[in-house]
Symmetry: C2
Amino acid sequence: MPIYKAPLRDMKFVMQELFESSQQSSLSGSENVSEQDMDMILAEAAKFCENILFPLNLSGDTEGCHWENKEVRTPKGFKEAYQEFVSSGWASLACEPEYGGQGLPETIALAVEEMVCSSNLSFGLYPGLTRGAYQLLLKHGTDELKQHYLPKMVEGVWSGTMCLTEPHCGTDLGLVRTKAVSQSDGSYKITGTKIFISSGEHDLTENIIHFVLARTPEGPSGIRGVSLFLVPKFLTDDNKEIKQRNTVYCDSIERKMGLKGSSTCVLSFEDATGWLVGSLYKGVANMFTMMNNERLAVGNQGLGIAEIAYQNALSYAKERLQGRALTGVKHPEKNADPIIVHPDVRKMLLTMKTYNEGNRMLGTWVALHIMRSQKAENAVEREEADEFVQLMTPVVKAFMTDCGTEVASLGVQVYGGHGYIHEYGMEQYMRDARIAQIYEGTNGVQALDLVGRKIPTATGRYLRRFFHPVYGYIQEKQGDAFLAEFVGPLQKAFERLQQATITLAQRGLSNPDEIGAAASDYLRLIALTAHAYLWTKACEVAYKKKTGQESAFYESKIATARFFMQKILPQTSSLFACIMSGSKPLMEMKEEAFGPF
Amino acid sequence: MPIYKAPLRDMKFVMQELFESSQQSSLSGSENVSEQDMDMILAEAAKFCENILFPLNLSGDTEGCHWENKEVRTPKGFKEAYQEFVSSGWASLACEPEYGGQGLPETIALAVEEMVCSSNLSFGLYPGLTRGAYQLLLKHGTDELKQHYLPKMVEGVWSGTMCLTEPHCGTDLGLVRTKAVSQSDGSYKITGTKIFISSGEHDLTENIIHFVLARTPEGPSGIRGVSLFLVPKFLTDDNKEIKQRNTVYCDSIERKMGLKGSSTCVLSFEDATGWLVGSLYKGVANMFTMMNNERLAVGNQGLGIAEIAYQNALSYAKERLQGRALTGVKHPEKNADPIIVHPDVRKMLLTMKTYNEGNRMLGTWVALHIMRSQKAENAVEREEADEFVQLMTPVVKAFMTDCGTEVASLGVQVYGGHGYIHEYGMEQYMRDARIAQIYEGTNGVQALDLVGRKIPTATGRYLRRFFHPVYGYIQEKQGDAFLAEFVGPLQKAFERLQQATITLAQRGLSNPDEIGAAASDYLRLIALTAHAYLWTKACEVAYKKKTGQESAFYESKIATARFFMQKILPQTSSLFACIMSGSKPLMEMKEEAFGPF
């Protein structure tokens, strides 16, 4: 019953009109890829997602994964879809040609991933984790490991996982107990239990390559003693042929709120053979290569779910006849008006629309900087871009996933009672979206990463990568008559952000709890300010084109931006007040005072 | 794995310290019920909920309801629990002694219902609907119908349903198509399909009494032609013995996001025998007796779920060791500190706590007025109390259920990854809570009822039932040194509410869309102002007692109120800004401009 059409027009707007597409091509070394080529790639990906992945979404949720004898069978159709996913090349878009990748811009991969997440998030997790594992090994692996593992992972016939969490430790990786004992041949024997491992076992690929945090017995305690190991499900020979089953097993899979087509595994490593990746004791730091990649990907998951929730809510709101418009009958030929005539329904739809389009701009903006950080010719430009990415990674992860759940919940609300019924699909989106606020670091951890770590670094240098362009843009557009209605609210939000930053910097020096108390509100404040900046830039583009052929599209952009400025951005005033009220209301509460009484 | 302990101490605070308990006893005609009696009743109810209902909650969710051959089997244990529920008298607490009820104060019934909702919301729906049906028949039924049906319903051996929704109509009841044809013996033959009927079929009671909206063929079209009928599952003889199966059948039950232990039925009426309740063509108006009762009950459901979510989140936050406090190690003897040391975790917990305790005060405040509206000696007092109830019904329904989902979601977040796993229980609370924002009128419909109907009535007379006590209290407490930190923010919020009211009244005259555009924000603004008022009063009580034996409890009240004033109430600033920005950002958007592009 639900529908999905990839938002190709808006993707084109963001990738080619808001940002310069030529820069994306040249940075990725694919100068020969024209805008038309990009359009064609995205259109093909859209077809695959709409016709192959999307029809398996509701059935995959209904059926779930099956665990038997330590093996996992994915829902009906997933295996065939995965084969086609791989053979069509969707797994390797932005991977290095050296390892069989297509070397296309990161922005294209991001757009395709969004489509995958919209059409079938459970499915998307299988190749999604592999992409993160690829990044990890590419950056930290020895040449030998890279030559052996990367080509098969890029091809998609082997998949990847990240094994961090243990029953007693999630956020705090210094508590990891899994052991790694070095062997005379340079390998390690890994023993321990990992939980919540997405795609830890499944039937989609010939091999599964686990990246595991573990502790060598002779190492220091805490986080400084944790190292990173590559542990394949099957050991392979020099020709990469399967040689022998490694001793890592899936003991069970979780019964979860959503993402039922994605296996979440308890893995037990029983003297399993593995190899060190990166330096000894640098496990957690190195894992963050994968983690940061995943955090951006998880933000994109929030957008993907939110997009399909919006599409369906919109379609329902135009079709569902119920009651009459407050200002008088709009469709006298019908028994009732469609519910889109009602202001409150419009408010829900516009909230969804503005978050989605804003987050698409935000995600692409960061993806552009990832490319610059890796490929720009100038070292300073690379470094500055990297700083921007580091700053915005927690913002993308937390804000875009908060929006994911909020938008999915609004989708349920627009559907009314039907939104709560499985077959209409909306309730699944809400259940699927919810995990994204938690995994790869809860959104509270993201906020603390932003305010406690990223912002203080080098006395605010990372933050200036965001502040400078925004401040410069506000200055540049002072007095622009068309943009005044956007620049004004942007400037106000930006000033609030500046003042909150200064206050926090001062208070945080004497009391770190001030940082922690403000973190979530601050993250949302910077995210909304980023949206305000991007919406203003979007309107600058739209104004120039709104009298042309596609005036409806550009007028929609301007109207959506107006809604954002007047109905969403005012959130910054209460966020600011909450930040300024400090940590005392939280910390003066004695532990016993929380209850129970 | 989850826990539940009824919040008896806080219930006592609200029922006996914040509000006068003697008034509750005398209004209900149970002057002989002392505070100690009340405590005992609630303590007994707590035992039943904690020990009988709560252990069936997770298993009921796992198993769900079973439909076969048009009959529904409830999850294992529900039938036995229901027998005990009925035999212990929990079904008839506030019902009229004339029909076998116990005539206890409505406030006691409210507290017991909250416990039922906390411990097993799915179960709670079966007796919950019966209570609404009881009210409906009590007010609108003929003596003959009342004598025949009410005693068995009060006893709980027969249950009730409300049958409004049809596949094409939910909110807009003028579209009802179910037909009622009058028979020579005064009965009617009812034919049609009803959907989303909670408790429409089950195995808990000997008979099920449906209250059905239907249209007589000779009546006018639209809402003015709809009447209300009583249609029992089994026809009974004069001795109330089952005589014959009536022709109303359950064609299927829905697969839903949550509430899986509660049957949501498609009912087909096939020339089923029924009797008119109330006057012909007054069906929708009369149904609102039940509907309003249910709306208040649904608000209480939001609180019930939120309470158990808080209790578990709190317990987890005290036990889960992960990381260290930002200000230095708090528990050096442990590997890590419990996560309750973190400001952001505290912020989540306090948000949960303050919403819950505030909503408990709000719900009880309204329940008190229900009693006054029915039983006060003075007719003016009855009328004014009724006006207050009418005003606050949509506020209780919408705000308390919005909080229900928000708090349940925060509970999931505090648990991190474990929150997403079925066996820990938190994800079920979120799924169960979500429907309450939709059924018995979506929260958008509640907001429109408040701002479009209740507030304009008699040029704001209903609204004055809220404004007058709040304004009077603010005046009375000017200059009170202890309360200044609460009265100040309350006054500011109240002024925003006043200004928003005046603005809306003016704008709404020329453009009804202004009402619709502001409705949801206005409802939240009045709800937060009500919370601010009640928290201030709670602190007034707490200040007087905080040096006594239970100082921890009263200090907790004051600290929670401070949190509310500084971290929650500032929401009113952005709500105010959104209200003032008017309907244009919503209505200027052409329908095509929503997409898809």
